[in-house]
């Protein structure tokens, strides 16, 4: 029995068959349940753990069909169209799946139907023997439509108890009374409408698997096999006129563990040596080496993301690759070794707040460098610093009250005498983001008065007063926000 905390009270979330037999129901408080039956075994609810487990099961079910979707919180939906004959029929496939799951100690119920909603409904609500699937569905109670509580109650009040009752009425009347959702749900259930299934893993562009008759214990051999697979994937991509942006190689160990290795490229690639170089780079960067243990029994290479790529011809003499590609290869290698967020490219962002005026995006994913707006008048000293502190660092400043320029400031325990300054450049907060459109308030931030200052030794800084004296802050603080060249 599992409990969770709902509005301050511990309530029963899910129960096993024995608990249900005792007359306990979900939603009951734990105290009530204990009063009835003191010897309860109680566990805390762990929705994230459950979700994790379900996702792992879903990934495992890709052995039956590539289109396996989650039906949270407790279900999986497999689209076995065109897959069943490989296992010798629908029933055999279902039996195999149920056996496999029961081996993990799980209670499993299954149903086969023409639509995902139909299977969901038949699995959860017992339908008696019926002539065919449609008849079985029509006999189910209206709760299977998964409508909101009010609609379900309203349907029952109107005397519509089963799906069949509902299907006999004209759709327009139902829509007028119980909403569009009811009609849609009914259509989906009976296979009139069609809602596509969202598989957990999108279908990769290219997918290549190698199973070994015996587990292989040599990583070098596994990598050679992977290279052959990469060449095969490259051919597949060439046929489509595409190149892969992401590659995923999974090493399945015979004891059930799997090592996924993912590499990403900034330009489409389909050249096996290039892919292998990146994979090798990733393996070198692993904290624990690729351990074959009792041997790998399967390798899988997938290309989840591909982009159009024109066939290229090497230059006639020497086969020199184009310059952009050389740079892209360097970015890929460094990004894989150091981490994809560590090689960055700066992009302008349309904001007047200095720290939001640029975005540092991973160079792997942001290919085309955006155009940077340059300063209005060329040849003027820069109005923005070269280095920006985020967050700004507080400094002690001697300045005229209320809004005079700074005279000297202390930063990092050194006193700087200001001999030249320019300012203030007043940067207002984003007042339109303030709550209730209020001009004054914490949420929008404070007005900043920026000064470009130069000290006696020629060092140039960007400092600002945070808040207007008196109106926004009683004692505005000063901060250093950047260093000029």
């Amino acid at each position: 029995m599992v409990v969770e905390q709902v509005r301050g009270a511990m309530r029963l979330a899910t129960l096993d068959a024995d608990a249900l037999a005792l007359g306990l129901t979900p939603g009951m408080t734990l105290a009530d349940a204990r009063a009835r039956e003191p010897a309860l075994r109680v566990f805390d609810a762990d929705p994230h753990g459950d979700q994790d487990w379900l996702e792992r099961l879903c990934d495992g079910c890709t052995r039956y069909t590539p289109i396996a979707a989650l039906d949270s919180p407790f279900g999986l939906i497999l689209d076995i169209t065109g897959c069943a004959h490989l296992w010798g029929g629908e029933e055999v496939l279902a039996r195999d799946a149920v056996d496999r799951l029961e081996r993990h100690g799980m209670g499993v119920r299954h149903a086969l139907a023409g639509t995902a909603e139909g299977a969901h409904a038949l699995c959860r609500f017992p339908a008696g023997a019926a002539a065919d699937e449609n008849a079985a569905l029509r006999r189910l109670p209206v709760e299977v439509l998964r409508l909101e509580e009010e609609s379900a109650v309203a349907l029952r009040r109107a005397g519509l108890r089963t799906v069949g009752d509902l299907a006999a009425r004209p759709a327009s009347a139902l829509a007028a009374r119980f909403g569009e959702d009811a009609v849609d749900a009914l259509g989906n259930l009976l296979g009139l409408g069609r809602r596509p299934l969202a598989p957990r893993r999108p279908r990769p562009v290219v997918r290549i698997e190698r199973r070994f008759a015996e587990p292989i214990g040599s990583t070098a051999f596994a990598l050679r096999t992977l290279e052959e697979m990469a060449a095969e994937a490259g051919e597949g991509l060439t046929e489509r006129g595409q190149g892969g942006r992401r590659f995923e190689a999974v090493f399945f160990r015979s004891d059930g563990l799997a090592f996924p290795l993912r590499v990403e490229t900034s330009l489409p690639v389909r050249d096996a040596p290039t892919i292998m170089r990146l994979v090798q780079e990733r393996i070198d960067g692993l904290s624990d080496p690729l351990d074959p243990g009792f041997g790998f029994d399967m390798l899988r290479l997938t290309v989840p993301q591909a982009e159009p790529m024109a066939p290229t011809q090497l230059a006639l003499e020497g086969g020199e690759a184009r310059r952009g590609e050389g740079m892209a290869a360097l970015v890929d290698r460094l990004s894989i070794r150091a981490g994809r967020n560590r090689i960055q490219r700066l992009h302008p962002n349309d904001s007047h707040i200095p720290e939001q005026a640029q975005l540092a995006l991973p160079a792997v994913e942001s290919r085309a460098p955006a155009h940077w707006p340059s300063q209005e008048e060329k040849g003027d000293p820069p109005l923005r610093p070269l280095h920006l502190f985020d967050p700004p660092q507080p400094v002690e400043v001697v300045a005229e009250v209320p809004d005079g320029p700074p005279h000297r400031f202390r930063w990092r325990r050194a006193l700087h005498e200001i001999i030249r300054f320019e300012g203030p450049e007043r940067i207002a907060p984003e007042w339109w983001k303030a709550k209730d459109g209020a001009l004054e308030g914490e949420s929008a931030g404070l007005t900043r008065d920026y000064y470009r200052v130069e000290d006696a030794r020629g060092r140039r800084y960007w400092i600002f007063r945070h808040g207007l004296y008196g109106t926004e802050a009683a004692h505005p603080g000063w901060y250093i926000h950047g260093l000029f060249a």
Partner: protein
Amino acid sequence: MIESVTTLAALRRRIASLERIPAGQAVPRVATGHVQLDRALGGGLSRGRLHELFGSIEDEGAAAGLALGFAQLLAGEQPLLWLRTAAAERAGGMAYGPGLAALGMAPDRLLIGVMTEEAMLLRAAVDALRCPALGALMIELRGRAPLLDLTASRRLALAAEGSGVTAVILRIGGEPVPSAADTRWQVRAAPSIPLPGNAPGMSAFDLSLLRQRAGPDGFHWRLTWDSGRSSFAKADEEARDERHDHGQDSAGGYGQAALSGAVVPLSADRSASDRAA
């Protein structure tokens, strides 16, 4: 006497045959725009070599600005990679695109690599220097940087010579140690020429040429960046072009002790490749 001359000539020929780049062939150079500086360097900064810039922590902004200026000129239209450590980014602030654009430097051609540690940074630097598609590489190191010893800097120099990619090594708060750099500089912020209203003007730098492998050193100049031309201004009225003795230069915290051991025993105009060969 005649014998020794012939021996010398034979020795010269032998050395020339060992050189990857023949001594007679000029190294491509990029002019900085400052007339006296370019003249002292024989035409500008050499391409495919290492250039080391030293700046104190207080002069960080100026040192980074000058290093970026050099790297930008050396990279030309090709991309520029700036490698730094995460600690440096935390302490010194992150690179700011609008500021770069305001200086006339192209932030769209700039890639920034923020590495977790120095060892990884130097490994990435060697890899980057081997890639001829890169225009220039800027390596920022803070503090003593014990990993950048003579061996490490030779490795960088070899990679740079092989591909023709120039490396600008920015050392914040570091002390010069023997290295394979072609030139070595000390940077300090200099008071700018004020605009009307006593506002700070264009970025100015006090620059000392501490060492040059193939030529005279010990010069001091004041450079001003010209954001309109994206280059350094021709010359400044205040520019001092007289030669100084190292020991007399007491303006900064730079002592003479560091210099005496700093010169690598390599002959003029010789590449580092034959040392490794």
